[in-house]
Symmetry: C2
Subunit: 195 residues, 2 copies
DNA sequence: CTCCGGTTAGTCAGTTATGACTATTTGACG
DNA sequence: CGTCAAATAGTCATAACTGACTAACCGGAG
């Protein structure tokens, strides 16, 4: 994600297509309703707007109402509309690899005593569950139903996977040598957390 | 992910714990066996090594074999071992939000003719399927079984979700309810702003 | 022995992202 | 109607990342 994420350009073009806006508004919207998609910071948003303007995809109009420091309002140009259509199709037709930096720890899971590992993963599980609950509680961000739906689907899958890992941890030892020992698990694999 | 990703530090400490290595080797390993977790570039790897050394977590020993430009071999210090144990626990006990920049396009899905949208998503689906197949084919990277397992689990869930979206596209139009005039809901900046 | 392509090893200049800051306006309250 | 908190709008110095580069070494073909 070095080159200015084309998804961000797509997003801004799409929003400006609906109505002209200024930088602050754009960032607000992204931050409030699309936080699960992306993490665009404010200065980055302004930078992107400059680039889009430089590419001729959007136009800046400086509004000097009252005596304010002058807001810059952006609107889509015809070239921008064309770019939007192209980027949208590119986006829909491709899938970006999702990375899970979290997993790095899992690679060293067998260095932690089994008990402790179980407790730690329980904490992780609770976090995912909380995020899922939060997603469920959100009212219904304007154009972002699919986005939310995806998030919930993903979090649900994460829970299922984590539970499998925890299950495995409880019976067979981690992944390394098929170490025998462990008494038959006294606890039920109920999918609920806590031990 | 502005501050040097702690997961990367954890990873390097973990690898150096097993055996001393130099920068190039470390990057090679990550790039080959953990590409699904992270995307660390070579210069970034060297930067990280410098920071770990500055923190006293690893030691650099310059090896001047033959007449080569001298390789820097790193090894873990006791302080590094402590840091590793701490970071590992932190990592296991927390879950980072995963973002899906791809989803941005989905938010504008209803701007594309239904037929075309279906075709585009079919392409996306094929890509996911291909990645899944590739993951299945990989032999079994050294300490990365869980990582691979997670990846496959995730990709499978992605396929299922995408299929649901496509199904929905086929029957009901899009997802939004009978859409009236959805404008990005700018909460505070009400009708006073802009025309 | 020497030229060549591939691997090993690392550096650095230029770009990109962001934490921290400045400054104006509005609304609420006494 | 004065003042303070919150919202609005944006800038900038600095940190982080990476594309593109340099350079030694190794093994085989000629």
């Amino acid at each position: 994600m070095k080159r200015p994420d084309p998804a961000h350009a797509l997003l801004f073009l799409g929003l400006l297509r609906r109505q002209r806006m200024h930088g602050y508004q754009l960032h607000e919207f992204v931050d409030r309703d699309l936080a699960s998609c992306t993490d665009l910071k404010r200065p980055t948003a302004y930078l992107l707007l400059e680039r889009l303007a430089a590419a001729g995809w959007i136009e800046r109009r400086t509004e000097r109402r009252s005596r304010r420091p002058a807001r810059r309002v952006y609107r889509l140009t015809p070239a921008g509309e064309a770019a939007f259509q192209r980027l949208l199709r590119e986006n829909l037709a491709s899938h970006a690899i999702t990375r899970f930096p979290d997993d790095i720890g899992l690679a060293f899971l067998d260095l932690v005593p089994r008990r402790e590992a179980a407790a730690l993963l329980a904490v992780r599980r609770a976090q995912i569950a909380a995020r899922l609950a939060a997603a469920r509680a959100v009212p219904h961000p304007d154009g972002a139903q699919l986005v939310l739906d995806h998030l919930m689907h993903h979090l649900t899958a994460e829970l299922a996977w984590l539970d499998r890992v925890r299950q495995r941890l409880r019976t067979r030892r981690g992944s390394p040598a098929p170490r025998t020992s462990s008494r038959p698990s006294t606890r039920r694999a109920d999918g609920k957390e806590l031990s």
